[in-house]
């Protein structure tokens, strides 16, 4: 009997689906494309220290967090903690200690909400990290779409990305991410692996979130 949620996520494999379905996924599960938005448009985000936390220990979440950290460190005026620094402060990180997989759907649908249990975990992490902002990022689904037609077969990878920006010391949700990103398959020929395509997809997703985050918060580095 498998009691707990998976540390490794299920990855969805779908075949012969319509373009419409792909578009729905690209727009996030709820038909939304919001790489980053503020909950309250009047909120002013002050540059300070920021820690990006991987929602779980799964490779997809870990990579999203690493790429977003890298982007924000390079391009924003925030003092962004490295993933290594975070791991030194939080024993066992990255793992399910930030966000358990037991109540994901509501958190994916209600952008200004985080379950009490998971919020408690983020607060506990903040107590160790002491950053002004905590950005939790995770992937909802990673899907491989195989579409067959007269022109042949096409393979696309699609990921749904979710995030929450917590502002401290108040500990409230200041912003969120909910969007989908896709990449056509280039792998499996010329010795390239599927992992490289998915890696690129995750890198692009983090970049998309970082672009919007930096533009909305007005924290772009002058010497980009």
């Amino acid at each position: 009997m498998i009691k707990k949620g998976l540390a490794s996520k299920y990855f969805h494999v779908s075949t012969v689906l319509t373009i419409f379905s792909v578009l729905i996924l690209l727009n996030g599960c709820g038909g939304v494309y919001k790489p980053f938005e503020l909950v309250d448009r009047n909120t002013r985000i002050k540059p300070g220290s920021l820690a990006v936390l991987s929602g779980s220990g799964s490779e997809v979440d870990v990579k999203l967090a690493a790429y977003l950290t890298q982007d924000l460190k390079k391009r924003s005026t925030f003092r962004v903690m490295s993933q290594g620094d975070i791991a030194r402060h939080l024993p066992g990180y990255p793992s399910d200690l930030v966000r358990t997989s037991k109540m994901p759907k509501a958190e994916e649908d209600n952008y200004a909400w985080f379950s009490q249990g998971n919020k408690g975990r983020v607060d506990a992490a903040h107590a160790q990290l002491n950053a002004d902002y905590i950005f939790v990022i995770w992937a909802g689904d990673l899907t491989r779409w195989v579409t067959s037609g007269q022109g042949g077969t096409r393979v696309d990878y699609v990921v749904s990305v979710y995030g929450r920006l917590f502002e401290y010391p108040r500990g409230r949700i200041a912003g969120y991410s909910a969007f989908g990103e896709s990449k056509g398959q280039s792998c499996c020929l010329f010795g390239k692996s599927e992992g490289e395509d998915i890696d690129t997809l995750l890198k692009n997703s983090a970049e998309t979130a970082a672009d919007k985050f930096i533009s909305i918060t007005g924290t772009e580095k002058a010497n980009k």
Binding site: I2, L6, Y10, F11, H12, V13, T15, S148, E194
Partner: protein
């Protein structure tokens, strides 16, 4: 037409998964050097731990190896289970194998702590679901011989719950998924016993 295509693709996928070699000896002239063995979960996730437990049971039942219990393994290895770098470059929809990628230093350390002649390490890095109905855990494993933890065998296989993606068939539940892991480990254990010459 869509259903027809789905079936063809699913059959093709099944053939690919079915064609995976569940256990192979690295050297065909392998000769058994000892009889104690421990199964180790290479990742800290529930399906992996479950697979290690079922493989322990299956090897006890089907081989003449003296197999250490998972409880003993947990008591002897500090922080067990822990994430050990495994024999793959990536693992999303399939495992992209690279048997040289394993953290052999860590494996050697664990084998020395356990003091067993053979260490069978399993990784379940990914699981896929097809049309919400067919669940597959992708598993890769290596058999090491002590005390230097030389790789003497390896294999890759899938444990699949759900036979069809037909809309009338219910989704497999946790028990179906656990049973898929149990049945698969039973088959693989028989192969290991056969190829290492330890059948009961």
């Amino acid at each position: 037409m869509a259903g027809y295509m789905r079936s063809i693709i699913f059959i093709a996928l099944s053939l690919i998964v079915g064609a995976c070699s569940t256990f192979n000896l690295v050297d065909q002239n392998f000769r058994l050097k000892g009889k104690t063995l421990a199964v180790v979960s290479g990742l800290y996730n529930d399906p992996n731990m479950l697979a290690a437990q079922y493989m322990t049971d299956a090897l006890r039942k089907n081989s003449r190896f003296q197999v250490m219990s998972q409880k003993q393994v947990a008591q002897t290895v500090s922080n067990y289970p822990q994430n050990i770098k495994g024999p793959y470059k990536s693992a999303y929809f399939q495992i992209d194998t690279d048997y040289s990628n394993t953290d052999i230093k860590k494996i050697r350390q664990i084998q020395q702590q356990l003091g067993v002649d053979y260490l069978y390490v399993m990784w379940t890095p990914t699981a896929t679901v097809m049309n919400d109905k067919i669940y597959t855990y992708h598993i890769i494993a290596q058999l090491f011989e002590g005390p230097s933890s030389k790789e003497v065998g390896n294999g890759m296989f899938g444990a699949t719950a759900g036979k069809t993606d037909c809309c009338l068939v219910p989704k497999p539940g946790d028990e179906d998924k656990a049973k898929a892991i149990k049945d698969t480990t039973e088959l693989v254990a028989k192969q290991i016993a056969e190829k290492t010459g330890t059948q009961k």
